[in-house]
Symmetry: C2
Subunit: 217 residues, 2 copies
Amino acid sequence: MAETLEPFLDLSAQGRALLAQGVQVKRFTRPGTVIHKGQQVSGAYLVTHGRLRVYTYSPQGTEATLYFIRPGETCVLALNCLFNDLLYPAWVEADADTRVAVIPGALYRRLFETEAGVRDMTVKTLSTLVFRLMDELEQIHSCNLDQRLARFLLHHADSEGKVRMTQQQLSSHLGTTREGIARLMRGFIAEGCVSTARGVVTIRDAEQLAGWGDISR
Amino acid sequence: MAETLEPFLDLSAQGRALLAQGVQVKRFTRPGTVIHKGQQVSGAYLVTHGRLRVYTYSPQGTEATLYFIRPGETCVLALNCLFNDLLYPAWVEADADTRVAVIPGALYRRLFETEAGVRDMTVKTLSTLVFRLMDELEQIHSCNLDQRLARFLLHHADSEGKVRMTQQQLSSHLGTTREGIARLMRGFIAEGCVSTARGVVTIRDAEQLAGWGDISR
DNA sequence: ATCGTAATGTAACTTTTGCTACAGATCGCT
DNA sequence: AGCGATCTGTAGCAAAAGTTACATTACGAT
């Protein structure tokens, strides 16, 4: 079980032994809640398979996805809570069938002290998130929704230029409404940048989409 | 010189010796640029006196303050850049006469490996920022400007309930325009929450300001 | 004391976004 | 094939915030 974590942590022999003792592997299926807001965090969460989704609710009740955690990634918020003795500030649910390795808090702290690999991973993870969040903030107050959506689509398209998400999901990601997304899509479609179908957006002209807002409209 | 850093870092004897060798103290006066965007980061910046201001420009040319660094705090972005070999993603200027201890990158990394105090400080600093940023993001898509301004004022008032900033500065902090701030102030003043003068906002009724948006208007 | 500069106050207008309310389309299931 | 559920498309109105433009007020320096 613990072997799957190796590639991410790069541990010494002692570290591996310690880890093997303490890790618990948990499984979650499709729409399963992993952590509630305000919950005590029991340890570091390392996703090995599947995907977790971290989100909050706005006072109006709409939810906004903060980010996903893919295999090999940890939940940074949980790390934060561990190191600062805080309660978890958001919700987490399984976005697919997911396996998570939970490293109990005390063990994680011990590993952090002794294992350079764990330290590196921790700092890198935190740093990456800081940059992601700052970028997000900058975008929010320097771009309009259309530019943010364009960027989001380009960023999340697969190799065939398809983004397999419903407009509802897109809107939660951008913290806006479904109607808003539909309206923007209409604009994109009118210019031939994009075509839509149920649950899929297909990028037709990435160039133009990337330059959206610089030129027309 | 290095002694002023002690309280923040809590070092062993070796650590102190190492630090004493390598630290440089730099001084900056009032409107002095400390770091440019895209610059290589030479080390960790620890402010001992005065205040630094970290900000970015939006494409429209308006600047938005990200945060301040007060005595005892370090520049998290610089830490980030150090650990991930990135270029600095914003601008920094001295907001007052400021003294900064610069711990060169290599030295900082060495201290990080050997000194628990430095590790703690690093992780705590990063974590704190992550929370601050997330809170900011959440606020942005769940509060209107009036609520954000109210909160900002309450948060930044001194012991006499005064916030010594121009409306221009307030607007950069919230990523909006000066006129917007003036408009909101008018609302606050009308309700008697606040009074304004050149360069100062004085909170008259903190209770009401805190509950802004829940009740009236 | 006066003059220039920076800060504030105001107002009308425009754009963007959110909200409400449907209508139509697509999918899976029985 | 029929039905319900989910997803998408549209439209109109309201609220929020940005834009432009200018008047007024405080401060500081000479």
